[in-house]
């Protein structure tokens, strides 16, 4: 059996781990257009601010490939998939045949057309290690940085650039920051917190025109800068599967075994759509744990062991300038909020069941107990919700259920 994996990040690595649980000997080839061994992408902001060394950003130990008998083809880009001939063609002209193929191509920055952007010499995305290296090369002490996009990527870049005493302005078309994971009140708390670190926000507007060192905004303001970070959004890399005739929506469509509509072609991670149990529908869940766990499920199936990726929902744990957030699920339902203006806790219940939460600051501890209520569909009939809503705790389960849980120790991922 020969497995080929396109992509060397969380989903691709998860695929190797899934395959090797059941097939110790089959040939595995990983092809990636990046030249590096697998690394944790979210760590690029920590590298930029000097908290983590490049050595310590490895997502798996250095001997991972050798131990798992993986052949690396790094710095090579796949041009096309031929699902009938079961081979992929590389831009270099080589072809690689497969029995089972994994497409773990991730996502790419989305840069909307902006007048004059080509005149800006120092502009950067912030998703890959090479982006981080380019930013580090360009930044200097006290640099004026314009960040376009007040989402997770833009604000993690801001956090890192504070270590260079950068004078930062963040512009976003939305009326608040981090709308993908926070509600309005939590956005406001986080915005104030980040502003207190010297970052300026200009919301509800966009850049209408760039010159080499200025941006004129739609609201008439002008921002001068030495460099620009473009963090408007990301788009799944679906082209390979689409061009091969596979089913693609906003992301690559798979079944719950991660199989695409193409025979023996699987997909996992940020390039795919996932079925989100918290909204009962498909959406892109571009989060690292999801990518890894989908990869594991795909790998098992590729190796002939039936496995399913169920119970996916959005979840994020992230901090900005020392203020931490843990969020999960959907915020559609009856909300219970507790806040002192700095710390924030919102629990959303629908049909007698926790569907989502936002925890900030002091409320984040033991959040995983809440996550388990969503994942395991535990209703108010099955545990003491009143106690549980006060703080996540095992005490809220009845004795039998608690002992059952604490005795188990088998985990709960799928």
């Amino acid at each position: 059996m020969k497995y080929v994996i396109i992509g060397n990040s969380a989903a691709g690595i998860g695929t190797v781990e899934g395959i090797r649980e059941y097939d110790k000997d089959g040939e595995i080839v990983i092809i990636s257009d990046e030249k590096y061994d697998t690394y944790s992408r979210p760590l690029i902001s920590y590298i930029l601010k000097g908290q983590v060394t490049e050595e310590n950003m490895r997502y798996r130990n250095a001997d991972f490939y050798e131990k798992n008998k993986v052949t690396k083809m790094l710095g090579k880009r796949v041009a096309s998939i031929n699902a009938d001939k079961k081979e992929v063609s590389l831009e270099s002209g080589e072809t690689v045949s497969y029995d089972k193929l994994m497409v773990a191509t991730g996502s790419k920055p989305f840069v909307p057309p902006m007048t004059g952007l080509d005149r800006v010499a120092k502009k950067f995305s912030f998703m890959k290690l090479d982006d981080e290296k380019a930013v580090k090369e360009a930044v200097f002490d006290g640099a004026r940085v314009l960040i376009v996009g007040a989402g997770l990527i833009g604000l993690k870049a801001a956090e890192a650039l504070e270590h260079y005493n950068a004078k930062m302005t963040v512009v976003d078309l939305a009326n608040r920051i981090l709308p993908s994971i926070l509600d309005e009140d939590a956005s406001e708390i986080m915005q104030k917190h980040i502003e207190s670190k010297g970052v300026k926000f200009i919301l509800n507007t966009s850049v209408s025109e760039f010159t080499e060192n200025t941006a004129t905004l739609a609201n008439g303001e002008t921002v001068e800068f030495d460099m620009v970070i473009l963090a408007v959004g990301v788009r799944p890399n679906t082209e390979l599967v689409k061009d091969a005739g596979g089913n693609v929506g906003r992301g690559i469509i798979t079944d719950n075994k991660q199989l695409t509509s193409l025979k023996d072609v699987y997909a996992a991670g940020d390039c795919t759509e996932s079925y989100d149990i918290s909204i009962d529908g498909n959406r892109i869940l571009a989060i690292l744990p999801n990518a890894h766990n989908q990869g594991v499920v795909a790998g098992k199936n590729m190796a002939g062991k039936e496995a399913y990726y169920l119970n996916a929902f959005p979840m994020n744990a992230i901090g900005f300038f020392g203020l931490h957030i843990i969020t999960a699920g959907s915020y559609d339902g009856e909300a219970m909020v507790e806040t002192d203006g700095v710390n924030y806790k919102k629990l959303v219940v629908k049909d007698k069941q926790l569907k989502g939460f936002i925890l900030m600051g002091k409320y984040i501890e033991r959040a995983g107990i809440y996550t388990s209520l969503i994942r395991e569909h535990i209703t108010a009939d099955e545990c003491d919700y009143e106690l549980m809503m006060k703080a996540p705790q095992m005490m809220a389960f009845n004795r039998e259920r608690r002992n059952d849980k604490l005795a188990g120790g088998v985990g709960n991922e799928n």
């Binding site: 969380a10 944790s40 979210p42 760590l43 920590y46 908290q51 983590v52 310590n56 950003m57 490895r58 997502y59 798996r60 130990n61 690292l288 744990p289 890894h292 766990n293 594991v296 979840m315 994020n316 744990a317 992230i318 901090g319 931490h324 843990i326 999960a328 984040i364 501890e365 033991r366 959040a367 995983g368 107990i369 996550t371 388990s372 994942r375 395991e376 996540p392 705790q393 095992m394 005490m395 004795r399 608690r402 002992n403 849980k405 604490l406 005795a407 188990g408 120790g409 088998v410 985990g411 709960n412 991922e413």
Partner: protein
């Protein structure tokens, strides 16, 4: 494998297990020193108190652990069944805190929350076997094989 289990009928809620855990992971050679010199580590075991019912909770060392599966950096891994944290690769994102269904990943307050910490069954300190078990006055915490795997 051997795991730490609690018998809630015997737990008095005295929190001694938390103190033994703090001491065991402090690097100090006696308990008084650990606490008086502020060397005590953040406890990785937690007592929940509920009036009549008390019990201690610590890492279950799951066989298919969400914390390890979901770790964004690779800092969490399994060695001989024990889930370990490599602090040098932890950035304190708390994805594991979000993931653990038992609430057993602990934010390491000792270092200002820069990393997490967790029970490693005293395999990486000088104790040899779990200090919480040894220190429990009422044998409410045991370290034993129960045959799950």
């Amino acid at each position: 494998m051997k795991r730490v289990y609690v018998n809630e009928d015997r737990c008095l809620g005295c929190h001694l297990c938390e103190f033994y855990c703090s001491f065991a992971n402090s690097g100090a050679d006696d308990m008084a020193k650990a606490f008086k010199l502020d060397m005590a580590a953040t406890p990785r075991i937690k007592v929940e108190e509920g009036g009549d019912i008390n019990f201690a909770v610590s890492c279950r060392h799951c066989s298919d652990p969400s914390c390890v599966n979901n770790c964004i950096t690779g800092a969490l891994s399994v060695h001989d069944g024990v889930i370990e944290i490599d602090e040098s690769r932890c950035v304190g994102c708390y994805t594991c805190v979000l993931s653990c269904p038992y609430g057993c990943i602990v934010i390491d307050k000792k270092n200002g929350g820069k990393t997490i910490t967790k029970c490693e069954l005293c395999t990486r300190n000088s104790q040899g076997e779990p200090a919480c078990v040894k220190g429990c006055l009422n044998s409410a915490i045991v370290f034993e094989e129960r045959g799950e795997d």
